[in-house]
Symmetry: C2
Amino acid sequence: MTQKYVYFFGGKKAEGKAEMRNLLGGKGANLAEMVNIGIPVPAGFTITTEVCIGYYDNNKQWPAGLEGQIKEAIGKVEAVMGSKFGDPKNPLLLSVRSGARVSMPGMMDTVLNLGLNDTTIKGLTEISGDERFAYDSYRRFIQMYGDVVRGVDHDFFEEIIEAKKKEKGVELDTELDANDWKDVVVKFKALYKEKTGDDFPEDPFEQLKGSINAVFESWYNPRAIRYRELNDIPHNWGTAVNVQTMVFGNMGVHPATGKGSGTGVAFTRDPATGENVFYGEYLMNAQGEDVVAGIRTPLPISSLEEEMPEIYEELEAIRHKLEEHYREMQDVEFTIQRGKLYMLQTRSGKRTAGAAVRIAVEMVKEGLIDKETAITRVDPAQLDQLLHPTIDPNTKAKVLGTGLPASPGAAVGRVVYSAQDAEAWRARGEHVVLVRTETSPDDIGGMDAAQGILTTRGGMTSHAAVVARGMGKPCVAGLESAQIRYQDKTITFEDGTVAKEGDWLTLNGTTGEVLLDKADLIEPELTGDFAIIEEWADSIRTLKIRTNADTPHDAEVARNFGAEGIGLCRTEHMFFAPDRIGVVQQMILADNVETRKKALAKLLPMQKGDFVGILKAMQGLPVTIRLLDPPLHEFLPHTDKDIEALAQAMGLSKKAVEEKVDSLREMNPMLGHRGCRLGITYPEIYDMQVQAVFEAACELVKQGLNVIPEVMIPLIGTVKELEILRKNAVKVAEDVISKAGVKLEYHVGTMIEIPRACLLADKIAKVADFFSFGTNDLTQMGFGYSRDDAGKFLAAYLKEGILEKDPFQTLDQEGIGQLVELGVDRGRKAKPELGLGVCGEHGGDPASVVFFHRVGLDYVSCSPYRVPIARLAAAQAQVKFPR
Amino acid sequence: MTQKYVYFFGGKKAEGKAEMRNLLGGKGANLAEMVNIGIPVPAGFTITTEVCIGYYDNNKQWPAGLEGQIKEAIGKVEAVMGSKFGDPKNPLLLSVRSGARVSMPGMMDTVLNLGLNDTTIKGLTEISGDERFAYDSYRRFIQMYGDVVRGVDHDFFEEIIEAKKKEKGVELDTELDANDWKDVVVKFKALYKEKTGDDFPEDPFEQLKGSINAVFESWYNPRAIRYRELNDIPHNWGTAVNVQTMVFGNMGVHPATGKGSGTGVAFTRDPATGENVFYGEYLMNAQGEDVVAGIRTPLPISSLEEEMPEIYEELEAIRHKLEEHYREMQDVEFTIQRGKLYMLQTRSGKRTAGAAVRIAVEMVKEGLIDKETAITRVDPAQLDQLLHPTIDPNTKAKVLGTGLPASPGAAVGRVVYSAQDAEAWRARGEHVVLVRTETSPDDIGGMDAAQGILTTRGGMTSHAAVVARGMGKPCVAGLESAQIRYQDKTITFEDGTVAKEGDWLTLNGTTGEVLLDKADLIEPELTGDFAIIEEWADSIRTLKIRTNADTPHDAEVARNFGAEGIGLCRTEHMFFAPDRIGVVQQMILADNVETRKKALAKLLPMQKGDFVGILKAMQGLPVTIRLLDPPLHEFLPHTDKDIEALAQAMGLSKKAVEEKVDSLREMNPMLGHRGCRLGITYPEIYDMQVQAVFEAACELVKQGLNVIPEVMIPLIGTVKELEILRKNAVKVAEDVISKAGVKLEYHVGTMIEIPRACLLADKIAKVADFFSFGTNDLTQMGFGYSRDDAGKFLAAYLKEGILEKDPFQTLDQEGIGQLVELGVDRGRKAKPELGLGVCGEHGGDPASVVFFHRVGLDYVSCSPYRVPIARLAAAQAQVKFPR
């Protein structure tokens, strides 16, 4: 039996269903699902994503049998719709649209009005009773097909229209009549012939074939590639193609019933706030693309209740039906053709993090979903938005105007007027706000580079608004009171204030306000629905969440965000403080142990003070303190001037300091004399640090506090290193404890961050109380990538699909993950009570958190602001992989 | 039952045997064995190495039961020897000596004449009938005990003797009489009391206990540690202690029989040449240490035949008995006490590489051993000596004198006069010849640093000679015709030539000649017995041996040494040639693909020429060519001056060149933009290289030669990298081949040198014809050690026993070896026909070769001069681990 490539939908029954998203794409699967639950959908069929993948694997050939299945499906569509493809009297017209597993709005190509030719145009004229509409549709088809399928530049077609308007002495397209469009059609075909060398295809099936291939081709257009990179969508998923009967929102009023046409998009709840209200926009007598493109500013959906009350009522009913069926907020597109409502799309609606949280909590209250489902409804990565500063309501910054609150949050940046500029400024480290009349898919890169986006046209569902919400970027849309002049690179607000390129603006995407200069910001808090979701997450998850914190302040912030301990306290950051670096340098420049010990003695009380603060902030919870890790040369100056200054301060010759700096210089510091290698060669440094930790801890215990210090030795690669250093540490610790005469629970463990350590984990476990995987260094050494240098090729690697994701952001489970698993399995086998955690960037990355949960770690540790993200990700991991 | 700590030997039966070397040490095991085969040995007992290990593990305490076992053993010794420990009439006197698994000559401490005190001295006087001898023995004991057990400096004792000689107006020790020594004994005891605060112990068992502990302590004295490091002996082996009845080679003539005393050392064959002759030296009326220390120049063993014919005959008989028993060349020590012969030691004799080869071959011919045994009798590492240049017999360099040919080979270096200077000069890169009157164990470091050693005193078994042979360093000993003046740092030869510090000398250790200045050298060849042993090795081994060669010359040398292909041809070395580097720099400075391709086009014929030469030299054998590996900045200048010169040559501004140099600079070049990452980002470079390889190969095929090029892609970390680069390479290769219209077998494979690649070996294997493990980089990344920087801590790591061996010299089997095994197992499982090899330093290291054999590689590849070493090591591996 031949493989099934084509899935029909229409009438009362579809061949596909919602669960077939991977095969049919999101749009196709949901069109089928809507048909199955009795919602009016124009009939059509979906060509599977497998055909797209095969298209690229197989030299862009169609598989045998595809053409036959398409023709068969067209037959079914004709039967349901009562028209015929290519029929001169009653022609079936089709749209051809992309539809990947996940929505990639505007990224790929579409062809509309397909099936028109010099014969069928007569039928359309007849049926619509509107020759102008028919020829306008025809010329639109030729223009789209020429552009999308054959690469004839859009602008060439526009020039012909401009010329025609000039000839007629009119300004707007709407002022051209049927004969004008007829003439334009002739000229378009001539243009097509000139540019492509071919006649415009009259055969509807040839038109269809070309359009389907064009959609496949658009999967690899540059902006689609870029979008997938930004959104972590694998390139090898491919897109499905949806071929569907055309319905026309621009067909005007029915001559008999007087019922009008229109088109709109809507969300079943407010995607910006999450409020449970019907939320959307529509345009009368327009095609769907007109709403999304933001060219005409549409009306709010509530106006439709007055304009077409029965249609509004039908829509409201569909809204409830969809939410009850999908138990999820939906984003729908609809078209009204002369009084008949058709649904063209439904999908899970994109929403801000705040909305996601509110919808999830409210749906639990409404009984639509349970808590386990609720916590999976919020993308942990998206929570980042809620953990950024917001604008202080009491800020004194001047409000220059208020647009639509299209995507919430605060953005502070310098104004730029093009996507290219946004990317270029960002590349040199600037924060920018991108200001555009409206945005288009070509602006994606610039939007990503900007802190926020401001447009002067378009609504809540305009391109800028939808994309910004998807990116979690603040956006103020449709600030119609302001004027942009691209030539001068200025925007003029209604009070006459002018912002030039490079001036500072603040956007409040939550209120729609635009403020002059940099506004005051306030720190984020964990309150309301957000707090509720996090509590639910806590009640579900089994993985503990700690934080990386080097100061009492960071420790407190993290604790407020729910951290259950410190997984990584880096002691070297304390060495860099201006009042200490001098003593640290003395210590390094010492040419014998005695002098070094003297300098260390000065550092001891300072380090002790640090630890008192941090242990206090975390009382009752474990605090893992990593002993000195970076190579010593990091603490020494490298410029001539600084070396001279240091020599003077130390009473040494410049040459002596230079020689020391030279002797410490390394070819590959990443793989050099650092971590526990320092502890072996300069045991007195680690001894001082351990003494400081335990003096601090004992002091707090005497004050009646409960503290749990954990000494972590970095960069262990051999068992002996840890044996020696553990012995030293325990000796110092026991000395301090017995002198203080207190009881104190403490642990001595190690980072597992060298590949060899993973392989020897069984032996290392015997001398460690805990392992903390240092996946940053493990990634560097396991891949052979220096984080400082990999930029030179990593971008190319991501672009060419050599790597699916940046391994420094998301753990490479295929390779580095194996090392972690080896370390976990061997370590725990040798010592079942071994503590297991991870510290470093990956601890706050949701996908990596799931992995760490799966392999059986006890905790992850991440930066304070990522603690709520990790809590939620851990809960989702437990739902998906119960343990 | 208590553990057995003490093994008795003596009379006709010993508790130990030769196989118990790990427990009893080499000396102890062989003393027992000699007793068992009926060779006369003074009775005694051995305390096991386990006691030494326990001594250090257990806070330097003796285990329960040890004391009792020692006392019991003393009882057995007393019974056999007919004397009693501490007996005033007929006292048993003991020696206490170290004895590790392998010989560490002179590295640890010894105490002789133990058991003497103010009571037993009377008995010794009585028995020997020689009061002078008795008190001389007594003072030697106090001196040795004081020095070794209690750390009283040797020099303090010598001062007392000097004072006594002055007082008596004599010059030599031999001129002092019994009463003088009596007086010295009293003064020695006073010195002992003054320096230690204790009375000299009168209790013989207390003396014994102190001496045993002193031997244990000496296991960790600095020179023993250093020796073990130089000789790859693990620190945790510990030493056994041999306690044995004293016999005296300095007891003079028997008053009744007139038979004399003496002592000597001998080898059952010539240890320098391997010739099957009795070879040794002796001194009449002397103690054993006198021979070894080289203070008096001894007589050749042949003189003994005249002096004491029955003893010589007995020795000859023992020589044959030992060789037939051990089937191995022996190194023995003997003492004649008033006409009675005692053997004090036998062990496998150290020998030069040349001797080892000759002995192995001749023993096969003599029917003593078979070929399998023969090839295990040569230490592959030692063969290095035979693969170094020797002095051209036709050299014009002037001969300054001829000493003893103590250790063969040629040494060319600048003269230094102390071990410290030798180390210091070597550290700054100089080649030195160490010139000393005689050497002592304290000179070990300096001897290791020198190219060769010249002494003016001492024989073929002097310290200098023995140690030099052990190290494989050329040595001329006992050049008595020359005078050294340490103060002036000069040596004056018999013709009046004076060599000052820093002057060049050449030593011919094979002939004993010392030559002025640098003599002409000739390259080594594989001939005679050496060729025979290698042929035997080839008939046994299953692992193939390839070579690392970048030039036709190296390829030829390696082929003559038996290489079976090239395992690593580095193409970048060709880029550094003076006539090419300019074009390479042009290529790198190109700011677009076109300019880069132009520069590459110039490189193409050059690279092709290289490959023609190498492929031709290796016709019929595979040649693995690695594509460009190092980061591009290695080819650019870094000093201001060089940058300016380059800018001028290229017609660029200095700033432009500087910017390029800056943009390519890396923090950790080891983990940066190199290897296949260059091939991905600059595909045109690899394309050029592959084109050059195949144009060269096709040209040779057309000439009727059989060539097998293998393209090797370095630094693969992901499957995709190899997919892309293999595809590119195959495309270029097929193009060239089809243009040439020839048939050509070729392979495309990859280096496995990144830890992640080992983990993904199953997937990578699917797109590779072969894997070549790059264990250098695997070690760097697996350990997190930069080879360029690790020097800062590696020495300390070896010293503290954190690492047993330098992992860059000998593969770390425990850790990095696991990665190799993973790679082999997964790779071969996914593709059974996958070729598997290793290139890099470890391929020529014998211990690593055994590992590579065991895990199932097809071949190792090493530098040309190590090919014979690898051949032999591979054969030994097959004998030990047949596959």
